[in-house]
């Protein structure tokens, strides 16, 4: 499986990433290269749409942990939206739902 990353700008301060496919050890580096620079731009909010992500492994989680750390460092914001249940479970188990801004309207099954 592949991952497609679509970058669009809602307005000047919000970058909207639409992901589709699987986030795993093969696709995570590309995602990291896209997302990390965005979290370093002052005043930016990065929104990530997970609606079409049907699988993510711990490597993918690592990307979002780095992104979160980077937002703290640079005073930017990260929001994760429209997660499917299987992906949400990963954030929940690892305790990240407590410290990340994750849209709670979880999408049904797989």
């Amino acid at each position: 499986m592949n991952l497609t990353i679509d970058v669009s700008h809602k307005d000047n301060n919000v970058t909207y990433l639409t992901l589709a496919g699987e986030v795993d050890a093969f696709t995570a580096p590309k995602l990291k290269d896209t997302i990390l620079p965005l979290t370093k731009e002052e005043g930016q909010t990065v929104e990530v749409d997970f609606e079409q992500v049907n699988y993510m492994d711990s490597t993918g989680l690592g990307v979002f942990i780095s992104a979160l750390k980077s937002t703290k460092e640079h005073g930017t914001e990260l929001r994760l939206l429209h997660m499917q249940e299987r992906v949400y479970r990963l954030f929940k188990i690892t305790g990240l739902t407590e410290i990340m801004n994750i849209d709670s309207t979880v999408q049904g099954g797989m």
Binding site: D57, S58, T59, G62, I65, L68, S70, I93, T94, L96
Partner: protein
């Protein structure tokens, strides 16, 4: 023609024979020629050169434009030949790396080895299978004379060599803790600070730490974002999820961990695992958690070590089974 010589004469004869007879035998010989060329690291452009020379000898009257077109082909193939040589030398390097990694994997096995304790009161079964050569899962047992058994199960994000190096760091930090009985929440808190300081920002570790007290049969545990384990009630034949909140190690230095206690009844089991178990796939299909539990249950009457072995064998036998991540399964059972 019994022995095949890699020379112009030989190639010329083959070519001539083929042009005359269109015989399959000559094609077969050509294939042999090509295989031997590979063995002797003769590049594709050299073979084309031999072809051009043979043609010139067979057809001295060859038209000028054919001659030019063949020279053109020769030039085109030169860079292909270079790429081919590079490919060959990369293959050799790859073999070298492979053998280095297997040395490292063996070293890791020695460094991270743990002895499964044999205790009368509580029976232990443990199995860890790496998806690649090096294992990013880690489990460790510590047993003291007072009768407490400490069990750590950890999974470092990512796979392969970086994960393995990271695991060794965890193991040595744990070894450096003072030898008194340590609470799981304290252990995870200390490790969290070690990982937070030392590891790259996208790396993290999940860990479950439990202490089994064989005198009063209590199980005290904390979890740092680790895959939930299960408690098996023998009487009801049912599993209960050991769902413990706690952030993964290495995200924030201030994280603290809560500790829980559970009384373990005779015959009941504690099942600890890593996400390699719950993320197994059969073809494109995920193997669901309930399936894993059903399989464990079906072997519940066996000795603990046999249960974990049989569970892995069960999944390994499935058609199209692939191990995407390191697989670790540990079972503790109260015996008396």
């Amino acid at each position: 023609m019994s022995t095949l010589k890699l020379d112009l004469e030989n190639y010329k004869e083959l070519l001539q024979e083929y042009i005359r007879s269109k015989d399959e035998q000559a094609l077969y010989q050509a294939e042999q020629f090509s295989k031997q060329s590979m063995q002797q690291k003769i590049s594709p452009d050299e073979i084309i050169n031999i072809h051009i020379q043979s043609l010139q000898e067979i057809y001295p009257e060859m038209p000028e434009y054919i001659q030019s077109s063949l020279n053109f082909l020769l030039e085109t193939m030169i860079s292909y030949g270079l790429a081919y040589q590079e490919h060959q030398s990369l293959r050799e390097k790859q073999l070298e790396l492979k053998s280095e990694i297997s040395v490292a994997a063996n070293m890791q096995k020695t460094l991270l080895s743990t002895v499964k304790p044999e205790i009368e009161e509580v029976e232990v079964g443990a199995l860890s299978v790496p998806a690649k050569q090096m294992n990013g899962d880690y489990h460790h047992f510590v047993y003291d004379e007072k009768g407490t058994l400490g069990i750590a199960v950890a999974d470092v994000i990512g796979k392969g060599v970086p994960a393995a190096l990271c695991m060794s760091m965890i193991k040595y930090s744990m070894d450096s803790f003072p030898e008194m009985r340590m609470d799981p929440s304290v252990i995870l808190g200390s490790l969290n600070r070690v990982v937070e300081r030392n590891v790259d920002s996208s790396m993290f570790i999940t860990m479950f730490y439990g202490l089994y007290d064989s005198r009063d049969h209590t199980f005290t545990y904390s979890s740092a974002g680790h895959e939930p384990g299960f408690y098996y009630h023998k009487d009801q034949g049912e599993f209960e999820e050991i769902d413990v909140p706690g952030l993964v190690l290495g995200v924030s230095a201030e994280t603290t961990y809560t500790q829980y206690v559970k009384e373990v009844e005779k015959g009941d089991m504690i099942v600890l695992l890593t996400d390699g178990v719950t993320e197994c796939r059969q073809g494109e299909r995920f193997i669901e958690q309930e399936e894993v539990l059903d399989v464990i249950k079906s072997y519940a009457d066996l000795p603990a070590q046999e249960i974990v072995d049989q569970v892995y064998k069960h999944f390994e036998r499935l058609q199209g089974f692939q191990l995407r991540d390191d697989f670790t399964l540990i079972i503790l059972r109260r015996n008396v």
